[in-house]
């Protein structure tokens, strides 16, 4: 007759709600990186779960599970073309989690779901790592703790605050441990690497090829390209903020390209020239290519990079996570020699260039053979012939140099740079195209310059005798404000024609000081996250540990000893909780118990059922010598315990009487 009750093992609703809230926060990194149906399916199953749970529906049949799993696998395979790589892998985890959610119903499966959700957080960090995503995922992490807490607290109603509070306490207490582990936990690199490079997510930024329309497509992207600090406090003027990305010296006409894997410049070219330098500390956002940025002109490459011909920085490994480095730029170009072979290469022009363009170039040479004058004539040509600067100049094909130069005369910076360099070569002046960024937004809070993808720019460099490589920006002739003001302000200057009225209204609001400040503060936070957290990798850690270390212990040993020390502190903390101070009420009780122990040793043992007054009466008869003391003692105890208002000194009386009570046998 003992098994008449039913054991309810279903997951209570409140923890499930917390879990669902946590899962919603794991979704944002999935949008934009995974196939859209994957996060959509995830959200739908989440909603479905809450519809099914009260009705008692769930996925029971093994056949259904098998069919759904196979269908999901097939769908993933068809959307990505393979099951390898990070996106299909994460999609698989997400889809399996969705199915698990439909199936799970017992208490033990709740733990499984929470752990899978933690794995989802991890996957999120492989998809994206910006601060906003990280905040989402950390919120999800915290909500999962709340879900677990609520789960173990049992089905209590209307108590959303206590589990939140406990989770908060746990996280606050964990913070120092997290910081210690983050700084000192040995980042051992596992031998073989999983190839989890994001395959399809097109990293933002320009490529090694410049063709018409390529840069214009970036002009609307507000994504961050990199951020630069100027540790010396010298912030260059806006019109010289030319951030060198890649030098394209091959190709001509409207299409230019860079070398695939450039060789390093000879050490002689790396000799730093005299003159003023600008120190920059740069944090690049991952762009999947090898470029690293620096102001004109870098001479010494930072670790892990080389200085490619054309004096641009080229990282050995493609940049797939935020990277921080320091570089110095010189106001003058270091190399004043150009060998004949290089010169020939820089004058190459494909035969497909039309005779009309050749004639134009030759006409300048005929007028004056001095390269400086040729450059000026070319710029004069752009200035005087009605060229216009436009973000959407219409489509040009690869060989449309003539159409641009002589007919439409509308272009973006890339068109001007490409055509200018081609014309220079036709005129016998060595020229090349540089793609990088121009300008940036200075953040007063964080004291850094933020450069966005929309700041992408292309310009030219020409070789002038004596002066060497000289920067010429044909765009500056056509649209001088683009160079002086920065791209955003430039667009604004052009008046309302480019935008609708509502857009202008929103933009006006966004320009309010409070929003500007908020925006700047958010950028600063982002910057701190990127520079302090994301770029703290194994190498940085090694440098950090070596820096902290004063006694020249090997870094690994230092890490281990710091962690051991922290462990000892932690053990002390745990031990200390056992001996924490007790409240007054506890102390009164402790004193009474002490009295009981002393009395017991002299033969008056308190029974478990006995109240203090009854026991006192009995003890007085058992221990007649102490009867007065017992009377006073119990009086004080009863007052302390049961009176509404305790006169002063009673607690001290009790302490004294209990202390004075003789111990040992009579």
């Amino acid at each position: 007759m003992s098994t008449l009750r039913k054991i309810d093992t279903r997951i209570p609703r409140t923890p499930l709600l917390w879990l669902a809230a946590a899962l919603v926060f794991t979704v944002p990194p999935m949008f934009g990186t995974l196939s859209p149906w994957v996060p959509a399916l995830f959200l739908v199953t989440l909603a479905l779960k809450f519809w099914m749970e009260p009705k008692g529906y769930r996925l029971r049949l093994a056949l259904w599970k098998l069919i759904l799993t196979t269908a999901a696998l097939a769908a993933i395979f068809f959307s990505y073309g393979s099951l390898k790589g990070i996106e299909p892998g994460v999609s698989l985890i997400v889809v399996l989690m969705s199915l698990k959610m439909l199936e799970a119903h017992t208490a033990r499966e709740f733990h499984v779901m929470v752990m899978v959700a933690w794995v989802l957080c991890l996957c999120g960090f492989f998809l994206a790592q910006d601060l906003s995503i990280a905040l989402c995922l950390l919120i999800a992490f915290a909500l999962l703790l709340v879900a677990l807490l609520q789960f173990h607290r049992g089905p209590s109603r209307n108590t959303w605050w206590p589990p939140l509070r406990t989770a908060g306490i746990l996280i606050l207490q964990a913070l120092p441990v997290i910081a210690l582990l983050f700084l000192f936990f040995p980042r051992v690199s596992t031998g073989f690497r999983l190839l989890m490079t994001p395959s399809s997510s097109a990293a933002a930024g320009f490529s090694d090829r410049m063709s018409p329309g390529g840069i214009a497509s970036l002009a609307s992207s507000t994504e961050v390209a990199f951020r630069a600090e100027f540790p010396d406090g010298k912030i260059p003027r806006a019109d010289v903020l030319y951030w060198r990305g890649v030098v394209m010296s091959a190709g001509a006409g409207m299409e230019w390209r860079a070398r695939q894997a450039p060789a390093a410049l000879s050490p002689s070219a790396l000799r730093p020239p005299a003159g003023e330098t600008t120190r920059q500390r740069i944090t690049i956002e991952p762009h999947g290519e090898h470029w690293m940025f620096a102001l004109d002109w870098p001479v010494q490459p930072p670790p892990g990079a080389l200085l490619a011909p054309g004096n641009y920085l080229w990282s050995y490994q493609s940049i797939r996570k935020p990277r921080r480095y320091e570089v110095r730029s010189f106001a003058q170009h270091p190399d004043k020699n150009l060998r004949q072979r290089e010169r020939d290469a820089l004058l190459e022009v494909p035969p497909s260039i039309s005779p009309r363009a050749r004639e134009l170039a030759q006409s300048w040479v005929a007028a004056n053979a001095d390269p400086r004058v040729i450059v000026i004539s070319a710029l004069q040509f752009f200035r005087a012939q009605g060229f216009r600067y436009s973000l959407s100049p219409g489509e040009y094909r690869k060989n449309d140099l003539d159409e641009f130069l002589f007919e439409r005369r509308v272009g973006f910076c890339e068109h001007y740079a490409a055509s200018f360099a081609t014309l220079m070569r036709l005129a016998g002046v060595p020229a090349r195209v540089v793609v990088g960024y121009l300008g940036g937004e200075y953040n007063e809070f964080g004291r850094f310059l933020l450069v966005r993808q929309s700041d992408t720019h292309a310009w030219c460099e020409v070789w002038l005798p004596e002066a060497g490589w000289t920067r010429v920006d044909p765009t500056s002739v056509v649209a001088p404000d683009r160079v002086n003001l920065g791209f955003d302000s430039f667009l604004e200057r052009r008046g309302p024609s480019a935008e609708t009225n509502t857009g202008a209204f929103a933009r006006g609001w966004a320009r309010q000081p409070i929003f500007t400040n908020l925006r700047l503060a958010w950028q600063t936070l982002n910057y701190t996250w990127d520079t302090r957290v994301l770029s703290f990798d194994a190498e940085t850690q090694e440098a950090f540990v070596a820096n902290v270390d004063l006694t020249k212990v090997p870094p690994l040993q230092l890490s281990v000893s710091v962690l051991l020390g922290a462990g000892a502190l932690y053990a002390l903390f745990v031990g200390g909780r056992h001996f924490r101070t007790r409240s007054r009420e506890d102390r009164v009780k402790g004193l009474y118990e002490k009295f009981c122990r002393k009395a017991a040793r002299r033969g008056a043992v308190r029974e478990a059922w006995e109240g203090p007054a009854h026991f006192a009466n009995r003890a007085m008869t058992l221990l007649p010598n102490e009867s007065e003391r017992i009377g006073r003692l119990i009086d004080a105890y009863l007052k302390l315990r049961y009176s509404a208002q305790v006169p002063a000194g009673v607690f001290e009386d009790l302490t004294r009487e209990v202390g004075a009570f003789p111990r040992g046998k009579q």
Binding site: M115, F125, Q129, L148, L170, L194, E593
Partner: protein, 295 residues
């Protein structure tokens, strides 16, 4: 008076899964050299570490008292009411109690407010007849996160009685040498005519329980059938023809139950003890107690 027992800590069942997750995180983070993944790994492991003192503290300030348990027959279950009181200043959550060494389940209390108590009914199988003692109770908790389990033993003395398992022949013996005054020969403990119901006596055959009444939500009642008037029964340990004394005790127990059910006065004769024939609840339990404590 003061509990000086140690709290023992060990990983809970779900810890294995957690370890897998942590390893996966570590592997993924280190193979990609991904600082954000490392951060997540460290956050998770730190929170687990920090939760350990919370788990230990969740058992401090708790006291348990075992209340008296009703006797049960061997093979049945003992129901032991236990009171857990929280003398700490903070609420305690998800505390489970069990009787160490018994094969019973543990009972869980979700929340005990400070200064309050909670009652649970522990069930565990009664195995051997005789008087037993619960020496201590085990408190355990996995709160707050469920990955670590702390437990400690607290003294809680309580005795309970296990009656012998009823067994053997349900047919009551014919009037023994001492029951010559019985008018008739052997008789069945029950007749054919329904005569009413009375409270169910634990250990009784379940065949006559008034299940319809149970279905109506009433207490367990046994249907009684009119039996022929009966003589005194004298149940004698010595006169049984069973070799094993435990079997004899089982047989006697069954007869005591059947006789009580048939409302036939019965007496019990054990080596060194004799109980005069009588009927009724007190007599019934007195006989069973004598059988349970028989040495």
């Amino acid at each position: 008076m003061k509990d000086r027992s140690f709290t023992l800590l060990r990983p809970a069942r779900s810890f294995a899964g957690l370890l897998c997750v942590l390893l996966a995180m570590w592997y993924a983070a280190s193979s990609q050299n991904n600082a954000a993944a490392y951060l997540l790994l460290f956050a998770l492991s730190s929170v687990i570490l920090v939760s350990i003192p919370h788990t230990i503290r969740n058992l401090s300030g708790l006291k348990v008292t075992a209340e008296s348990a009703k006797p049960a027959f061997a093979g049945d279950e003992i129901f032991l009411p236990v009171e857990i009181s929280n003398e700490a200043r903070a609420p305690r959550h998800s505390v489970s109690v069990s009787v160490p060494g018994s094969r019973g389940d543990e009972e869980r209390v979700d929340t005990i407010a400070p200064g309050k108590g909670a009652r649970v009914m522990l069930r565990f199988p009664a195995q051997v007849r005789g008087e037993h003692e619960v020496g201590s109770l085990r408190l355990a908790t996995v709160y707050p996160l469920g990955f670590m389990r702390a437990r400690k033993k607290l003294g809680a003395r309580q005795r309970y009685l296990v009656y012998p398992k009823p067994g053997g022949d349900p047919k009551l013996p014919s009037g023994s040498a001492h029951a010559q005054q019985a008018k008739r020969g052997p008789e069945r403990g029950e007749g054919d005519d329904f005569a009413g119901v009375r409270a169910y006596v634990p250990g009784e055959s379940q065949r006559h329980i008034d299940w319809k009444a149970v279905a109506r939500g009433q207490a367990l009642m046994t249907k009684q059938y009119a039996a022929e008037p009966s003589g005194l029964l004298d149940l004698d340990f010595a006169s049984l023809r069973l070799s094993d004394p435990e079997n004899r005790l089982s047989q006697l127990t069954l007869w005591v139950i059947e006789a009580e059910r048939a409302r036939r006065p019965y007496g019990l004769r054990l080596p060194g003890a004799a109980i005069a024939p009588s009927l009724g609840d007190t007599h019934f339990h007195r006989c069973l107690r004598a059988l349970a404590l028989f040495k």
